[in-house]
Symmetry: C2
Subunit: 338 residues, 2 copies
């Protein structure tokens, strides 16, 4: 992983694609342009893409500038992500509760769609007296939290700090600060950095309890939910690997398509894991509200268990989907020498 | 399914085994003897075996006598089964709650045993303030119900009606009332009745939503639990098929071993289904107790969901285990002509 061109890189291809610096500049310029055109709205995925790209290819960039911009992007992303996160929690919990109390809506089936049943579906909490109160409580608490997060986001978008960040993004469109501005290495120089992200992801996934998650109904949802954090970290690494692959897409051509699709699917599963874990937490918090009725608390207990079950199901799906990425033969060393 | 010997029945084997009447008499005499020797304790499995055998081979027995004895056996079984049922519910719910609140006991894994984990297991409700109260409430309610069922059982065992039943069982040891006492058909006559039970079981299983149950995390536990009754009926039919096979065991010899083992496994899975469904119901009932705290109710909601998840898991296991019975090539028509 040095700054010199990998020996097997195609010279013809490189001539068309440009140098590593040109490819990286073009990618970041496109992202920064998208960010600036979207203002005053901010697309969180663009923030995350720029931040991840700065992280992955840090060794090629001006060190202090890159670190500062990443810190600012991370901070802004943390603030702006609160409002949609509360919105997702609200939608997820109300959808869960409505399905638990439904008397005629079929429950969502596995990915193949709901299997037809010979009778009307009826949720576990259909006609339960605590259900309307639990629904109102969750709606009130999460709507309030979302409104507060909205206010905080608006304040942030009007701050001098945000305008300074927008100025940095403007610079990114025209003039990427490189560590060695004279460097003329081919685009193949970028690949080892993407491979390093792939390796980091693989190591983190291999540390997950995948064998256990592969056994359906393993009891982890309720009896031993374990730690959600390693799974949430794997989601971050999956996105980073996905964005690194996007940067290298011009030189990889068609080879990037299948791993990119597999990474997208994995990050979708892990987003479901994160959303369910956060929703379960929100239901547990709502149950601590003073002066709620026992019926309300009972329903929140069922909703909490339901979301933890979703966490277990997401881990199970991840364990069976992860090998798909390998079957694409993605970012192994062979990619570097082809 | 007539009263004449099937053409392929081995004459040599029949000579050793005896006539259909002799085989049936010997089987019921052995069960009745076991019942009488066990008094004053009553083994519910013996009651169920005798009742099922009378049902399956009803066409060979004195009609009025058979019907009356079956009714008495069913009634007694219904009364005596209450105490152990409350005991099972109590054990199951306290085990569930202890596992949900455990801070160092690994959760029960799938049949292969718990997969080792690199850290201490911790249940979802570990350190939850409602857990001790919910445990005390369940223990109090189910212990009381079990005590009442015990009193009712003792009264029943001291009643004139029970003594009349014991007298009927004494008759069964020595003198089985047959419909046609002169009938000398070979033991092969019994087989079509066992096949009819196998067919009844197969029809009932084919009406279950097995395709849906086969998809793990299908959401049926909470979002669409459906009707437990068809599954509970299939358990009854599984036991009946199992007991009919036992009656035919002398003539089937080694051929009966594998289907008998498969039926035992299926009835074990369905007993788990029934126990979990009943335990879930008990947790829901406990949550209706007046003046409980919201924290207690919350824990009962989680426990209820946990038991419904067990119901879903049992259905999933049944869906994947049921084909094992078929692979034994059991009670198909070929058995009758071999």
């Amino acid at each position: 992983m040095t700054g010199t061109a990998a020996p097997g890189a195609s010279t013809a291809g490189t001539a068309t694609i440009g140098t590593a610096a040109e490819v990286l500049s073009a990618h970041l310029a496109a992202q920064a342009g998208s960010f600036l055109r979207g203002l005053p709205a901010v697309d969180l995925r663009t923030l995350r893409r720029v931040g991840a790209t700065l992280h992955t290819f840090d060794a090629l960039l001006d060190a202090a500038w890159s670190r500062e911009l990443r810190e600012e992007l991370g901070r802004l992303g943390g603030i702006l992500s609160q409002e949609p996160a509360y919105g997702r929690r609200l939608t997820r919990l109300l959808t869960s509760l409505d399905s638990l109390t439904s008397i005629d809506v079929p429950a969502p089936g596995p990915s193949g769609g709901p299997v037809p049943k010979p009778r009307e579906a009826e949720g576990l909490l259909a006609r339960h007296p605590g259900a309307p109160k639990a629904r109102a409580l969750l709606e009130r608490q999460l709507t309030l939290a979302r409104s507060r997060a909205h206010t905080t986001a608006l304040q942030e978008l009007g701050s001098a700090r945000f305008h300074a960040l927008a100025d940095r993004m403007t610079l990114l469109v025209s003039d990427l600060p490189l560590r060695n501005p004279g460097e003329r290495g081919s685009a193949a120089v970028l690949l080892p950095y993407a491979v390093a992200e792939a390796r980091a992801l693989t190591s983190a996934v291999e540390a997950l309890p995948l064998e256990r998650a592969a056994a359906p109904y393993n009891g982890d949802a309720l009896h031993d939910p374990g730690d959600d954090r390693p799974w949430i970290q794997v989601r971050g690494l999956t996105l980073r690997a996905q964005y690194a692959l996007e940067v290298c897409a011009p030189q990889l051509g068609g080879r990037a398509a299948r791993p990119a699709a597999a990474l997208t699917e994995l990050s979708r599963i892990l987003a479901r894991h994160r959303d369910a874990a956060e929703a379960a937490e929100a239901a547990a918090l709502a149950a601590l509200t003073p002066r709620i009725t026992p019926a309300t608390a009972y329903v929140l207990g069922v909703v909490h268990a339901d979301q933890r079950l979703e966490v277990e199901a997401a881990r199970h799906t991840f364990s069976s989907t992860w090998p798909d990425l390998y079957r694409t033969g993605w970012l192994t060393d062979s990619w570097l020498t082809r």
